[in-house]
Symmetry: D2
Subunit: 460 residues, 4 copies
């Protein structure tokens, strides 16, 4: 067994390969976050009043300039993470040391890699959650537009997939939108939990040096530092699992939406139609226009749920203090984030292109759909509900299809077909959008200040 030299000691080559795993690939997504975190750390070290001082202002500026350069190269795919680096953290340290010599060797003063990956993942999550929030707001908005356009179009309401009661396309589409609005509040809660700075935990036990954790937290625009440094380390995985639980909610909303769209675009219903270019064909059947996107979204729900299971499964039974197990959380965490974002984005396209077919929607109404309405008419004539119910059940043949327009208009109470306030939901959706955008502006401003250059320019 051959050994390989790393910055932190010699390691057997197989062990190195096994332990590095996919970090060299996954960490490419963390170059920005790692540089930003390091910029905050070095800025803080520079301001510490210790003798000899750890960094001069000039040295700090040099480091930050170099970090910005690394970020630029990272975005172009030109920043390399070597196997012997093990991860982005040591790759950045190596690069700084190569460029700046001794100054580079000092950046790891009073921190550990656990510290770094913890802050990197929180910065990554910030960025991604803000993006996902905006996408989810857009999807809810697109659904609400669809609902508004088809507000009173009749659609058979089903329970147990069997025809149940008169309903509308407006009710159907805005139900999916309101589900997303609840998911958005879950994403916001997760965002808040994530919005605390772990930096300064070092290996989980702090350092014998009077570092300023409140400063780094502020420089990075976190709401506040995590207090206890051991908890800052133990929180690895907790934060990720709360976030992925919120992603699961988004995906479950997409699951129901996809399933409905798959079912109701079958030719036997034909309520909805997707344009051919959003469907895919078959290698053997020339006629096929399949809703592959919707099926893949449905399957990806199970994937994200499993990512959540992976993360909590890793945490279960772990003792306190850093354990390498936590590294394995990175992939399901980042994967589920990317999957959820891609799924929401593609569903925006799908819903935008969705066409409803009024004729098919009307044709689906059969007399049975009006049974409960008939029972309530008997109630209005003075009978008890249960007696009316029994009376209708015993004479289902006498039911007939009501005037659809009139039937729709009967449901006037809050949130029913004719009592639906789509503007109210639209307003909620917009308010969240505005709030999220403001948060992002503040965040980008803080990072731009820290780096001395406009962060959003970098990010394009």
């Amino acid at each position: 067994m051959s050994s390989q030299k790393t910055m932190v000691g010699k390691v057997n080559a197989d062990v190195l390969s096994f332990t590095v795993g996919k970090d060299a690939v996954l960490d490419r997504e963390l170059v920005d976050a790692d540089c930003i975190g390091t910029a905050a750390h070095v800025t803080m070290l520079q301001r510490l009043s210790v003798k000899p001082s750890l960094f001069s202002i000039k040295e700090r500026d040099d480091v930050i300039a170099e970090l910005v350069e690394i970020m630029r190269r990272g975005r172009k795919g030109q920043f390399k993470i070597l196997a012997s680096d093990q991860d982005v953290h040591l790759a950045v340290e190596r690069t700084l040391t190569k460029k700046l010599g001794d100054v580079g060797k000092r950046i790891h003063t009073a921190r550990s890699r656990n510290d770094q990956v913890a802050v990197d993942l929180r910065l990554y999550a910030k960025e991604e959650l803000l993006g996902l929030l905006l996408d989810s707001v857009e999807l809810s908005s697109v659904l609400l537009s669809f609902a508004k356009k088809h507000k009173m179009w009749p659609m058979v309401g089903r329970t147990h997939l069997q025809p149940a009661m008169p309903s509308t396309v407006g009710l159907w589409a805005s139900a999916h939108a309101e589900s997303l609005l609840d998911d958005i509040s879950c994403l916001e809660s997760a965002y808040q939990l994530n919005d605390r700075c772990p930096l300064g935990s070092a290996a989980g036990y702090g350092v014998p040096l009077a570092i300023d954790r409140e400063l780094t937290s502020k420089l990075l625009n976190f709401a506040e530092p995590i207090h206890n440094v051991l908890y800052a380390s133990n929180a690895r995985g907790k934060c990720e699992s709360v976030i992925v639980a919120s992603l699961s909610q988004v995906m479950l909303s997409l699951s129901r939406l996809s399933e409905d769209m798959i079912l109701y675009s079958m030719p036997e219903f034909a309520y909805f139609k997707l344009p051919a270019e959003l469907c895919t064909g078959s290698s053997i059947m020339p006629q096929k226009k399949n809703p592959d996107v919707l099926e893949l979204v449905r399957a990806k729900v199970a994937r994200v749920l499993a990512d959540s299971t992976a993360i909590t499964g890793i945490l279960k039974g772990l003792p306190g203090g850093y354990n390498r197990d936590l590294q394995e959380i990175k992939e399901p965490f980042m994967e589920s984030m990317q999957t959820t974002r891609a799924s929401v984005k593609i569903m925006i396209d799908m819903v935008k292109s969705l066409k409803a077919d009024k004729k098919a929607l009307h044709a689906a109404f059969t007399p049975e759909v009006f049974a409960a309405d008939r029972a309530l008419e008997l109630v209005a004539e003075g009978a008890s509900f249960r007696d009316s119910y029994n009376q209708v059940r015993d004479d289902l043949e006498s039911l007939q299809v009501d005037d659809l327009g009139a039937a729709m208009l009967k449901r006037t109470h809050l949130g029913a077909g004719a009592g639906l306030d789509i503007d109210f939901l639209m307003k909620r959706s917009k308010e969240v959008g505005v709030k999220v955008k403001r948060t992002r502006v503040r965040y980008y401003a803080a990072i731009s200040k820290l780096l001395g250059t406009k962060y959003s320019d970098l990010s394009i």
Copy 2:
């Protein structure tokens, strides 16, 4: 195959038994919630200005008096749910009809069982989450007291379970407490999502009757009604899965705490000791005092995580509108709630009884624990961190055990051993406790008003 008569039609006996499942047992826990929900529904129906009126004030009062009577019997285990009832909803309707005749047959006007179970589970969750929040606050408080008492007791900090750096019992215990404080914020978010009233959805499509959904929401002290009635139905399962995700976080915190306590009470460490009466024996080994409670808590973490998987697994792939699949969510939901509550409660006992052993804690310090401190001393003398690190690594033999008191005092920054502000965490914990208690007072007041009797008396 024999058939059996139910309130809603004849059903094959095997099918009835299969479909009722454990509802007859589980629903015993929902008697209160079902009666409260019905009280609100009937109160609303009574206030509707329809002709003929659905309920007179007298009839409404009779119904509510009878509901209170059912609740009293339920608490004494005297309210029976028969298989032919299928569930608590029809058992209550049957009882009311038996007692009040025609009036009982009218209570189901403009609602469905889906409606009822949706509101029942939200009321159940309210009560349980408030209780769990208070228990979790207590556990965090007990941990913080333990932390305060042993604040500067030295304890070897570990990473990868290997000795890493000097740390303290205070840091260890308050890290667990801060983890719970994060969990508590997850529970609060889940509480808020739950705090919306689904009533008035009927079978998911509303009713052709101008019911007042805002009134029932208010009577039941919900923050607001869910808007879209189809979403009110589709939200079944979503709400439960968000709640169980928050329970999972609590359980994961207990997982780490249990694992730490199991490890550090092994005789090879002996940092902590549990009194014999909190341990259990062996049927074959007379000497055994086993930490069974901690092991069971650790295992129950996996159970609650699996309950979460069950719920999301049921939801995955479901189309919109009520599907009977949702019934299967009830058991993992209620089970995980009860498991989490029992686990938190027993951990309060465990932590309260925990003894720390100063001698054993001191004995665990070996020279290696001071390696990083030594490297930072070299930094203080002007060397770069990476060079200092390499120097110490090449001469580990020269390390020695520092004065423990002094070593502890060196970590003064925010959240480190000597920079730990336990009072700050204690204050947070107390504030949540006060807030939760206030919420509960308001909730009980509203229900008492609705029922015309003091609800908390009933509940004892």
Copy 3:
């Protein structure tokens, strides 16, 4: 905190209640297994040539007579497991000691409760797996009969739920049957893994007494003893998780079958119809006949999958040697077994009652369904497949519905509509049934011999 006396020491009352959990209830299902295991253990101890002998033949017979009596009472629900017993094992020991005095105190010689629960669960699994195998064979047979009866009834074959190619009801039903045949082979593998005797492990490290583990294994009709006694202990959970994984396969087959039946019994398809008494009604909609059973089966799939997750989640991260965590495996293990058995049984009823509607099946054929057939006709005329495919795709309008009978008869190759050998599958199904019944006869004979009474009589 009050304490309570148990057979193995005083325990705090809350701790006792927490640690006993549901054992007092679950263990009611294990009374038979526990008595049988004890009968084998005592028979073995009696035959040991140690001085003084541990049991005389008379004492052994007395113990067994008393065990048979406990089994009889157990079946009538008259054998009580008290909280202070903690579990069935100590309840049996208590009862024997009460009846037989000192002899009862000797039965625990050279074994531990871990030992007992390990063997109990394997005996429980044997009995249940044999029953489930026979039920699964019956379900496959019922499906094959349905397939045979409707062998060449045309049914649109779908991919992506969209109409794809001509197919038959025979293909549809026998596909579900063949899936079950694969599941049956999974159940058989699990049965074989389970068929090894853990007894004699004691607490996992054997005993300083020359017990005869091969004898107990033989008395209990196991294929062989597990060799290493520590592995006999560590195998707890592994065996259960392999079994539950095989149950999951059965449930996944039922998932697909249920989903198909739900979809194709919607009025828009109406291929299949279930009799009213196998459906259930709605509390608000008088017309409803809902396929609740199928929906519940679909949901129970997720439950059994989660039980599997619970078990493997408990095992993950556990060290070797007995840990109390293993107790928590019992409930998901027994639950998933009961759920799977109930689901298979009810599906037998469902399939037996299923009616196919030839008219509806025919009506579903549209010209597009014949697109691939048309392309292959062009191939037969000499064109390449890809060119034929493109030609058909460019002229979909010219397609027409072929003669259905002729179309069905074109698929003559192995396993296609007209090449389906249902008798071949039926034969496989029957062979397994015969094999399983033989295994059960041998098992019952061995137990009857051990107990000196006919075991199958007891079991009715």
Copy 4:
């Protein structure tokens, strides 16, 4: 939204990217399998007696020569799968068509991509399972060698992690080996389920052409074809989930082994020691030698369990017939296979390098460890076990450490410390190894014959 041309129609670019997903990457691992499957399909088509014949012998040979060339390029990483190909199947068809013109366009006659991916994954699984079986046999063998070398070295046996009874290193290590032997039997069962040929299902409904499914099955060395062609399609996912369930068992065995090695290599135990080059360091603590590999293996257990959850979650609720959801199974299936293989391989290295420390093992014995032995001595003197147990419990202070050698020798029964038959387990392990190797030889011979070139040479 721009569109992109594919072999099977125009698709929107975003949709194409979303639906292709990671296939272009994952399918690189399937180039061999796809070419082999195509070789069998074309060979079968060539032998069909249809007029005009589909392939001449020459054309068939040309296709196969080209397939072998693709395989060679694939192994060198030179075979490109383009996004517009969507997957390996169309990439191969495109390449063949480019090279061979019209002949390439004919290879897709009478099959679909679903068909291909189904057979590809089964061929992939064959190869990987055979490799994993051999690796697992080696790990069991390495553990047994370790057990043999340290057979009677005393080691405290623990339950609940607390010292329990005298035990040996031989018992500890061979328990882990026997666990693997059970896993190996699970892998073998999964192999058998996998060993059936799905080819000829086309889109799940066969083709109107008399293809010879038994021939392709035989050419590919499968045990037999899956019978029903719809089941051949529905079995996608089932086969994978059975395989991953067997991988989970292997991983759970590694979980326990890793956890034990992590615990007992802590300095407080020091029973075992790993060489420094198999450990990894810390970026901040110069002294650290962490068992990262073992922690990562422990975490990867949770990953593989989650992969299993992903697959079964995708299947849950799916209707019959191909659905695109199945594509999402590929990644967790292939990932869990690779993870399990890598984990077993690295554990072989770990166990091979493991050193036991006799002094530390001896030092761990405390008087309490002998409590059960003392009770059984009293039994030997004529007391009942329960009375002996109580007597020892009341006088634990009088216990003392026995002569360790003698204590070890007292456990002579089957499978206990001194009754352990390591050669018996070793023999089992070897027998499986021989059997697996033979299977592989037969498989490679068949493929070599089909391709007309030595397959194992290709594979190096």
